[in-house]
């Protein structure tokens, strides 16, 4: 159990960062059809700088905590760096529990490294990725470019 519900995840779940919808450049609504988890997410950019990620939604502790971690980690970053973080997080989540996070990874992901244990549970990986995919989608909309991708 400890492997999935890290203290850190429970903390974010109980005390989410940046929750609530604020003004943004683009808004998306994503749903995890297998369990009904939902998120509405907005991004705000100042040039290439991500100045806010605001969100509302319902879902399990993993999806809620993940959105909170995302907010904490990405807000204030340059787009390129945020993208990098998102990619590393995706890689970790798709590792099926077989990837021991490297030091480098930990540096990039900070708190988000706590989700490593979730990657062992295929049914929950989508919960952890919900907000991250929504962010990617919203960013594409805000800045133009790639089409919506789904998990």
């Amino acid at each position: 159990m400890d492997s999935m519900y890290q203290e850190l995840i429970l903390d974010h779940y109980k005390h989410p960062h940046g929750r609530g919808l604020r003004e943004g450049d683009a808004e998306v609504h994503h749903v995890n059809p297998t369990c009904g988890d939902e998120i509405t997410l907005r991004v705000k950019y100042d040039g290439e700088t991500l100045t806010d990620v605001s969100y509302e939604g319902q879902g399990c502790s993993i999806s809620q905590a993940s959105a909170s971690v995302l907010n904490e980690l990405l807000v204030g970053k340059e787009l390129a760096e945020a993208r990098k973080i998102q990619e590393v997080f995706l890689e970790l989540m798709q590792s099926k529990g077989k990837l021991e996070p490297t030091e480098e990874m930990e540096e990039v992901l900070e708190d988000a490294v706590a989700f490593a244990g979730v990657s062992k549970y295929p049914a929950r990986v989508k919960c952890a990725l919900l907000s991250w995919m929504a962010w990617k989608d919203a960013t594409a909309q805000a800045l133009g470019g790639a089409e919506r991708e789904t998990v």
Binding site: M1, D37, G59, S61, I62, R124
Partner: protein, 418 residues
């Protein structure tokens, strides 16, 4: 040990089920409470499968060699067993499909391609209910889309029952088919068959009963039900995956057109035209699930030897106990009937605002297997304004101790997220 009236000797029964000895998460013996999703299989069924494959395996029908004769006798023998199990007037009314979903789709497709008086088209209506499994919703949505027929449904009351108050608007003179579940897979509700069948018969509509959650748990008598078709699935009643059943009244099966075309379902084929074999073969295209039918036959033997009435009594006792104990858990809300009357052994609930995924996961870590989500009955979740539920569901091998384990587990969940 809790003693309840009507309990089966679960200690003896559990010995027949190898999986129930499974140990998970470092030494926790599994507490399997996901029986509405699928049941475990007794040794007797696995033995029948092995014996079939090791001794008799051959393709059925049309063979003159000894294996083909044996395989055919076993396959057709399974049909006899299923016919007896549901009290079918004739063995030829029992069609083997791959699962209940195929059985339900089969009826929808027959009616879409049928001639009058059965034909579903833009002038006609289809009636279902809001508590159906997706497998008894989507085929009718597809049929409605493709034929222009109108799809109607019964709503639900706050305590998880069908709201029949507007029965005359839902089932009308235009209704060609009424399809509903005997027992809800998400709420456990047992539905009032007679009232619905009576109304359907009054307007000349056919009735299809989804007995997927009934056949495993109670005596099933298709003649007493008064329906025209009854569908159920093997894997929920101690049988293998890959097999379902559709029972239908002989004259309907004679009149209605085939669905899948292929080997076994024909009488004679030329490039220009084909004629079809009589039912049940008309509806069984291709090599059937032979071993799976044999396995289902063994499951039916197993259940019959214990007695479906005894199994129903056992589950009633367990359900009564479980409902009582669950209602003691703070913040727990049962979605569906909060009593053991007219309900089956599947109980859905929410636990405060802890998401069912989290409830299920933390229970799992204690070795308790429940299902979480919308249970392929999302309209029920929408109706009650919840994203999902946690569902515990019991079977003939479920014991009061397992109910106690669930209650303790839920306590742990509350503390964990408290």
């Amino acid at each position: 040990m809790t003693q309840l009236p009507g309990l089966l000797d679960t200690e003896a029964i559990r010995k027949d089920f190898p999986l129930l000895d499974r140990v998970v998460h470092d030494g926790k013996k599994i507490v399997y409470l996901d029986n509405a999703a699928t049941s475990q299989k007794p040794r007797q069924v696995l033995d029948a499968l092995n014996e079939y494959y090791e001794q008799h395996n051959a393709n059925v029908h049309r063979g003159v060699h000894v294996l083909a004769e044996e395989a055919t006798a076993l396959y057709e023998g399974a049909r006899d067993k299923v016919a007896a199990f549901i009290n079918a007037p004739s063995r030829n009314e029992v069609i083997f499909t791959k699962n209940a979903s195929e059985s339900l789709n089969l009826v929808a497709n027959m009616l879409g391609w049928a001639d009058e008086p059965y034909r579903v088209d833009r002038e006609t209506e289809i009636a279902i209910t809001e508590m159906e499994h997706h497998s008894n919703i989507v085929p009718w949505q597809l049929l409605a889309q493709r034929t222009g027929a109108k799809l109607k449904w019964f709503g639900l009351t706050d305590d998880g029952r069908l709201d029949l108050s507007n029965i005359e608007e839902v089932i009308t003179e235009k209704t060609k088919i009424v399809s509903f579940t005997l027992v809800s897979n998400i709420m456990g509700t047992v539905n009032p068959v007679e009232a619905i069948v009576r109304r359907a018969q009054d307007v000349g509509a056919l009735v299809l009963i989804d007995a997927s959650q009934a056949a495993p748990h109670m005596p099933l008598d298709v003649q007493a039900l008064g329906a025209d078709f009854v569908a159920f699935t093997g894997h929920k009643m101690c049988g293998p995956t890959g097999i379902g059943v559709l029972w239908g009244r002989q004259e309907l099966l004679e009149d209605l057109p085939p669905f899948l075309g292929g080997g076994e379902m024909i009488e004679t084929v030329s490039m220009h035209a084909s004629t079809y074999a009589p039912a049940p073969h008309k509806f069984e295209a291709g090599t059937p699930p032979i071993a799976q039918a044999v396995g289902l036959g063994a499951a039916v033997d197993y259940l019959t030897a214990i007695g479906m009435d005894k199994i129903a009594a056992h589950e009633h006792a367990i359900t009564e106990y479980a409902v009582r104990r669950l209602l003691e858990v703070p913040d727990l809300r049962i979605i569906g009937p909060a009593t053991a009357e007219d309900r089956g052994a599947a109980i859905s609930f929410t636990l405060g605002d802890i998401h069912p995924h989290d409830v299920g996961q933390v229970l799992d870590e204690q070795g308790i297997a429940v299902r979480v989500g919308h249970h392929c009955a999302r309209p029920v979740c929408l109706r009650y304004g919840i994203p999902a539920t946690t569902r515990a569901s019991f079977y003939l091998y479920s014991s009061p101790a397992e109910v106690d384990a669930l209650i303790d587990g839920l306590e742990h969940v509350r503390n964990f997220f408290g």
